[in-house]
């Protein structure tokens, strides 16, 4: 057997293991280890131990648990509630205003949390009862929460960008900044999606006649200033070059804890729960990364990436054809694979192709994260959908998926806009770090 054949056999085995429900991380580790053992036996054990150890001590990855903890602490301390209340006070009066407020609240919370799950859970618990109270359509209310939560991996700090930066060795500062404008655009398009739906079917979001006095509106905004201040310090600090992303994660978490302590809104129980949830996300992400780093040497040794590059060169496909094929494949994978799994499984193949096509890897990172977002709400295994189902057990899955469609389309629109106008992603990082060559 040639190395290439071994590589292909390894991939068939990987997919068989995945379909038999072996955890993605262990399946990658197993195939990576056995594959390396076959091609280069002496390297197999050192790769296994070395990658497990190196990944677990990767200094740049320390920001991931810290940013997740920051979001969990903010959620536990009720800071996310303040954001939602402020958005609710200002937008709630309009038709579909509660759903729009949910999107804006989720976007704000996403700027504190790197996790889409944390965003969906936190905003879901806050916003869903309100939308139920005002008899919003189940599809709209659950769809907007599931979709709004996905902003967590696009708007910095983003776990998706952190993992992408580790795997591609791109600057995390650049990636964070590249996510800002597309994140804001997507937020705006989600609001537009709500407006269009409620314009076409007014019964989806009965108008709330409750008028919030101007003084109350400003009071809610003042309460929301804490969270806005923390976001400005952390993300602004990275943008201005005051902090590294790791330092921003530490400072942001400490500030969140300090604000929560000042407001006496954090109990020991809540801290324990926030830390427990953070550990859960940390364990999941790091194990997947270890699996990916064990698999990658096998992929390289097998020569699959080189073979793919030759195949593309021989086919005469242009760069945008390659990009289109990659994006369509990722969207398809998103319907049955979890987002991080797609990221770590496909990047070793996709990165050389994207680089050979001459595309900016930071820009491509934004495209990839948006595709992952689409995967988070795509049937049948959209993780955010299951989270929302957990919060709203009485709403059938079919209704939730139906409610998601307009937001999925909004993501698709952003994807197209980004392909046509790459500057939307690159302008901020270029203004901060200078343009890439």
């Amino acid at each position: 057997m040639t190395d290439l054949q071994i590589g292909v056999a390894g991939f068939v085995a990987l997919f068989v293991l995945l379909f038999l429900r072996m955890p993605v991380a262990l399946a990658m580790m197993l195939v990576g280890f056995v594959g390396t053992l076959v091609i280069n036996p002496a390297a197999a054990l050192p790769v296994l131990a070395g990658e497990a150890f190196n990944t677990s001590t990767l200094y740049s990855m320390s920001m991931l648990p810290m940013f997740v903890l920051m979001g969990n602490m903010a959620g536990a301390a009720g800071l996310s509630r303040d954001l939602y209340d402020a958005a609710h006070a200002w937008m709630g009066r309009f038709r579909g205003g509660l759903a729009s407020a949910t999107v804006v609240g989720a976007a704000g919370f996403s700027a504190m949390s790197g996790s889409s799950l944390a965003s969906a859970v936190t905003m879901g618990r806050v916003a869903l009862p309100e939308m139920k109270r005002f008899r919003y359509d189940d599809g709209l209310s659950t769809g907007v929460i599931a979709a709004g939560g996905t902003l967590g991996i696009l708007i910095p700090p983003s776990a998706g960008f952190i993992v992408y930066s580790i795997l591609t060795e791109e600057s995390i500062g650049r990636l964070f900044m590249a996510g800002v404008l597309p994140g804001l655009l997507l937020t705006a398009l989600f609001v537009v999606a709500v407006m269009i739906q409620t314009y076409l079917k007014p019964e989806m979001a009965p108008s709330s006649d409750v008028r919030v006095p101007t003084a109350e509106k400003f009071a809610t905004l003042r309460r929301g200033l804490w969270i806005i201040g923390i976001i400005l310090v952390t993300i602004g600090g990275i943008y201005l070059g005051v902090f590294s992303a790791i330092e921003a994660a530490g400072i942001g978490t400490l500030l969140t804890c300090a604000v929560a302590a000042l407001r006496r809104s954090l109990t020991i129980g809540q801290v324990t729960k926030a830390v427990g949830n953070t550990l859960q996300a940390t364990g999941t992400t790091f194990l997947i990364l270890i699996g990916a780093f064990v698999l990658t040497p096998f992929i390289t040794l097998s020569g699959i990436p080189d073979a793919l590059l030759s195949l593309i060169a021989d086919s005469g496909a242009g760069p945008y054809t390659v990009l289109l094929l990659i994006l369509l494949t990722l969207i398809l994978l998103g319907t049955f694979l979890e987002g991080f799994a797609i990221l770590v499984l496909t990047l070793p193949f996709v990165q050389p192709m994207v680089m050979q096509a001459g595309f900016d890897m930071v820009w491509f990172g934004v495209l990839m994260v948006i595709v992952l977002e689409m995967g988070l709400i795509s049937p049948p295994v959209g993780v955010n959908v299951f989270v929302v189902k957990g919060i709203a057990p009485d709403v059938p899955m079919r209704t939730i998926f139906r409610g998601i469609i307009p937001f999925w389309l909004a993501m698709f629109v952003v994807l197209i806009v980004l392909v046509v106008f790459p500057a939307l992603a690159t302008i901020l990082p270029d203004s901060m770090f200078g343009a890439t060559l």
């Binding site: 293991l17 429900r21 131990a49 320390s62 530490g250 830390v275 550990l279 049948p380």
Partner: protein, 172 residues
């Protein structure tokens, strides 16, 4: 969400994982604190602390080691839920045992690899760059995490009734 594993062995494993997760959680909080202290010393006092990165890496590793079995206990490790292979309980159990056994065997190899690599010590250059902390305690700490993960799989396995819907892999 934690699905309790019945039986004495399951309870012991659960306690051990919780205890190790507590250590991981404390490490995480210390990591946050240390990062904040580092920023304060660097920007406010203008005296960067030497070796901060070494300690941060150590704390991160302990956090990860505590997190992996904790996530397994909560069924959080990502698996693809596409195919319901068969409604036949026997076939389902066979597949589960196969995957569980493969997982245990793989993690066993990981433990052996960590022990071998960790025992190499100074002659392999296994120490942190600034404070020259040897890596072997870190390898040991990581090994504890993986070992607890193995125990979690076995505990879930041993508690699984034939044909039940429980997942012997202990990961979902």
């Amino acid at each position: 969400m934690i699905t309790p594993v019945p039986g004495r062995f399951g309870r012991i494993v659960a306690r051990a994982i919780t205890l190790w997760a507590c250590v991981g959680g404390v490490s995480l909080l210390l990591l946050v604190l240390l990062t904040g202290i580092g920023v304060f010393f660097r920007y406010v006092l203008n005296t960067p602390i030497n070796g901060l990165r070494d300690i941060s890496q150590l704390l991160l590793l302990i956090c990860v080691s505590g997190a992996i079995p904790h996530a397994a206990r909560r069924g959080a490790h990502v698996a693809v839920d596409l195919l319901t292979l068969t409604r036949h309980p026997g076939a389902r159990r066979t597949v589960s045992i196969l995957i569980g056994a493969s997982s245990v065997a793989l993690l066993g190899v990981v433990l052996v690899a960590l022990a071998r690599q960790g025992s190499c010590g100074f002659r392999c250059g296994h120490f942190t760059p600034d404070l020259v902390i040897p890596f072997w305690p870190m390898y040991l700490a990581l090994g504890i995490g993986f070992f607890l993960y193995v125990l979690q799989i076995i505990a879930r396995w041993s508690a699984d009734e034939p044909g039940s819907d429980a997942d012997p892999q202990g990961l979902r």
